[in-house]
């Protein structure tokens, strides 16, 4: 099993979710983070003074999947999140040795889906 962590643009969340559903990936955990990457921040203006924030709002997805779903999931994220501009984000894939469903106590493959 793998744990996939993706950092995407906030305004791409809806599209990524749509693509994931298409790929039959329905389970995920989402949070709001700030990212520092290659993307230059939007210039914001406060009382006439420009400020180029270097921590930008991003969405972090955490998705645990079985091995045969990894590619599908990664592809779905990419096709939902890509604009071709810097800031599109990254996907990290980690090994996931164990997974447990709290409700039933199931583990492993059964638990993940």
């Amino acid at each position: 099993m793998k744990l996939i962590i993706a950092i995407i643009q906030p305004y791409k969340l809806e599209e990524v979710k749509k693509e994931l559903y298409k790929a039959e990936v329905n389970l995920m955990t989402v949070s709001e983070v700030l990212g520092h990457g290659r993307q230059k921040g939007v210039t914001e203006v406060y009382r006439g003074v420009k400020e180029t924030g270097n921590l930008l709002r991003k969405i972090r997805l955490e998705i645990a999947v079985n091995d045969d779903f990894v590619k599908k999931t990664v592809d779905a994220i990419i096709s939902g999140a890509r604009t071709g501009e810097t800031g599109d984000g990254k996907i990290f894939v980690l090994d996931l040795p164990e997974c447990i469903r709290i409700r039933t106590g199931e583990t492993g493959k059964e638990a993940i889906g």
Partner: protein, 408 residues
């Protein structure tokens, strides 16, 4: 003769009505998604600025100076001849400028109401143009026809105590037009959860408070009519608030905060034209009625027809205003206000017809001119932000600001 009590009353009423625009900003601002809240606040605030100026420069003259029966003259531009002596045709006991500034606050809030319909997707520059044109070519003439010396609806006998037609129907129709013109927001289902419902509640509280200035102040003196308007305003808001809560309870299982304040605001809208002409029992009935109708509008009609009136500016203000104007034709009572007229339920069907006529004329006028304005502005500037700007949100894309920070 200037009366200090009346002057104090009208000035504070004006201050209360001014406060309604920030109140509306929070009422609306809480409802939108977090990325668009400044967009809404900014539109409300800039209207306070732009319309305040438009009004003293030429708006007041267009609306209230003696002109023809459709529009005022330019005799009072820059407040020429609008001094500190009373102008008895409007208010005999307060300085003329007190009347002018009280009316200014109405001119400010009316276009602000429309914001609710096109929230979350309109270009700021287009919004600004539309606002100025609309204030000049829709609001000012309608105000003149209904309230201005020589205005034909005024002479016709139409009753609009504090702005049912001028303010609410007018803005409501423009709201519908704008929602249709701009089309639906992206990625938006039926209900968009308010990003900060307490802000919306705060806004509703300030609106209720400010509405005392709006309605009671329209008596233009601290007299019995003002007291009556004050009392029925409070009563109608209360009745409408409960009514919505009860409908929610019956239909959706629980009474909701958002529903209750929506109802209260609908009640405030509906009592506006009637406030100086009806008593407390009609006020209750008006409150109950308006919540029922608006509930149907925003939960069924809007969805059926598929226009995206984002924050229900048409569904609450337009419909509430129409209902209130007609209800005035039903319940008006000369015992409350001898300067008014009796309504249908007191045996005078004529008033009801007049009210219906005034409503229709306002709708038609507002519709035609608003459509024209939107067409023109769309042609020259374009109405809607780019898709990506909309997805990112108006705060960053239109104003280069974020409403909240994430860390400390």
């Amino acid at each position: 003769m200037i009366n200090s009590g009346d002057t104090a009353f009208v000035l504070f009423s004006a201050a209360l009505v001014l406060l309604m625009t920030p109140g509306l900003a929070f009422f609306y601002g809480g409802m939108v998604r977090r990325k668009n809240v400044l967009g809404v606040l900014m539109q409300c605030f800039i209207i306070m600025c732009v319309l305040s100026l438009q009004w003293v420069l030429f708006g007041y003259s267009l609306a209230f100076s003696p002109g023809n029966s459709f529009i005022g003259s330019l005799d009072w531009i820059g407040l020429k001849s609008v001094g500190l002596e009373p102008y008895a045709d409007y208010a005999a006991t307060i300085p003329h400028q007190a009347f002018m500034i009280f009316q200014a606050m109405f001119a400010v809030i009316t276009p602000a109401l429309i914001i609710g319909a096109f929230a979350e997707r309109m270009k700021f520059s287009a919004f600004l143009l539309v606002t100025i044109l609309w204030a000049t070519f829709v609001y000012d003439p309608i105000a003149h026809m209904v309230w201005g010396v020589g205005g034909w609806m005024r002479n016709f006998g139409a009753l609009d105590f504090a702005g049912g037609t001028v303010v609410h129907i007018n803005a409501g129709v423009a709201a519908l037009v704008s929602a249709v013109f701009l089309g639906k927001r992206l990625n938006v289902g039926h209900a968009v959860p308010p990003h900060n419902l307490p802000f919306t509640v705060l806004g509703a509280g300030l609106l209720w408070f400010g509405w005392f200035g709006f309605n009671a102040g329209s008596a233009l003196g601290a007299n019995g009519i003002a007291v009556n308007a004050f009392v029925v305003t409070n009563t109608a808001a209360a009745a409408a608030g409960i009514t919505w809560a009860v409908i929610d309870w019956l239909k959706n299982g629980k009474p909701t905060m958002f529903g209750t304040i929506t109802g209260a605001v609908a009640g405030l809208v509906a009592i506006t034209p009637a406030a100086g002409f009806v008593g407390v029992i009609p006020a209750i009935l008006i409150g109950i009625g308006v919540s029922c109708i608006c509930f149907v509008m925003v939960t069924a009609v809007k969805i059926k027809f598929g226009y995206d009136d984002s924050l229900d500016a048409f569904g609450v203000h337009g419909i509430g205003g129409i209902f209130g104007a007609l209800a005035t034709g039903l319940f008006a009572n000369k015992l409350i206000n001898p300067a008014g007229a009796d309504g249908l339920f007191l045996g005078n069907p004529k008033l009801f017809l007049i009210q219906t006529g005034a409503v229709l004329v306002t709708i038609v006028y507002s519709l035609i001119v608003t459509v024209t304005i939107f067409k023109v502005v769309d042609f020259f500037v374009g109405l809607r932000v780019e898709e990506k700007e909309e997805l990112i949100g108006l705060d960053l894309s239109q104003h280069k600001e974020a409403a909240y920070t994430v860390l400390e």
